[in-house]
């Protein structure tokens, strides 16, 4: 059961972030940081199927995390987080077509490793 939850967290987290990025890129850049632009952005988000799907996936991930935390300690949830970093970077490269060169790979690998160390 625990490992199923870890898998659900990793997959939903990854799916959520990738869908959110795709949806927000399609929606267009937030041009300005004032309240009007933010309000306009929010109004478009509620009609943005990709972002709504992304937020849904993140919600599932959140409740899976709560369930996991209720049956095991925090450090058991960490492999899911670390795995998400690597998975998301892979999808950013191959689906979102971002340029992921060695610096970003090194960065994300260090972060994933650091997250594991912080959980020990």
């Amino acid at each position: 059961m625990r490992w199923i939850l870890v898998g659900v967290i990793a997959i939903c987290n990854t799916l959520g972030d990738v869908l959110n990025t795709a949806g927000m890129k399609r929606q267009g850049e937030l041009e300005s940081l004032d309240a009007r632009s933010l309000g306009h952005m929010l109004a478009r988000i509620v009609q943005n199927a990709l972002v709504l799907g992304g937020l849904g996936a993140l919600t599932v991930s959140f409740f899976a995390l709560l369930s996991l935390l209720s049956i095991s300690n925090v450090s058991f949830a960490v492999p899911a987080t670390a795995m998400s970093y690597i998975l998301e970077t892979l999808l950013a490269k191959y689906i979102l077509k971002e340029q992921v060169k060695w610096r970003r790979w090194a960065a994300v690998t260090l972060v994933a490793g650091g997250v594991v160390l912080l959980s020990l």
Binding site: D17, N20, A22, L30, R104, G114, L118
Partner: protein, 140 residues
């Protein structure tokens, strides 16, 4: 992709700081609130809703909602593969804030984790925030 103007780079930086700050402040407030609420080990959603009677927990949740919105705004301007490692600096800041504000202990292994994450953040900072073009090509 043409290089972004300094003003645009500045906006992305500012949003990045808001995302990191929102995450840190939201988590510290929520953590402080949940400690006052006490341990919740329950399958009942009602027990979790009880936590919302605590003002610190409510404030934490509100800040985390702001964090989520600013994260979406940042993703409209920057690559996911840039945002992920950069915003991981919130782990470092949460650990340090937990140490100084909530009296949590940081072991030597945790310090090692903090150093390793910081190295990752610095490396990612040296890459351009966005490597994709206009709004259409990226995707699905």
């Amino acid at each position: 992709m043409k290089p972004e103007s300094p003003v645009e780079v500045h906006k992305t930086r500012l949003l990045t700081l808001l995302v990191i700050g929102g995450n840190v402040v939201g988590n510290v407030l929520l953590s402080h609130g949940m400690r006052q609420v006490g341990k919740i080990v329950s399958a009942s959603p009602l027990d979790y809703i009880r936590a919302f009677a605590n003002p610190w927990a409510v404030l934490g949740v509100l800040v985390l909602i702001f964090w989520m919105i600013s994260d979406l705004a940042l993703l409209s301007r920057a690559d996911l593969s840039f945002v992920l490692p950069i915003t991981a600096s919130s782990y470092v800041l949460i650990a340090i804030a937990g140490h100084f504000l909530l009296g949590e202990r940081i072991s030597s292994i945790h310090w090692a984790g903090i150093v390793v994450i910081t190295l990752g953040v610095v490396l990612a900072e040296e890459t351009p925030a966005r490597t994709t073009n206009g709004r259409r090509e990226a995707l699905l």
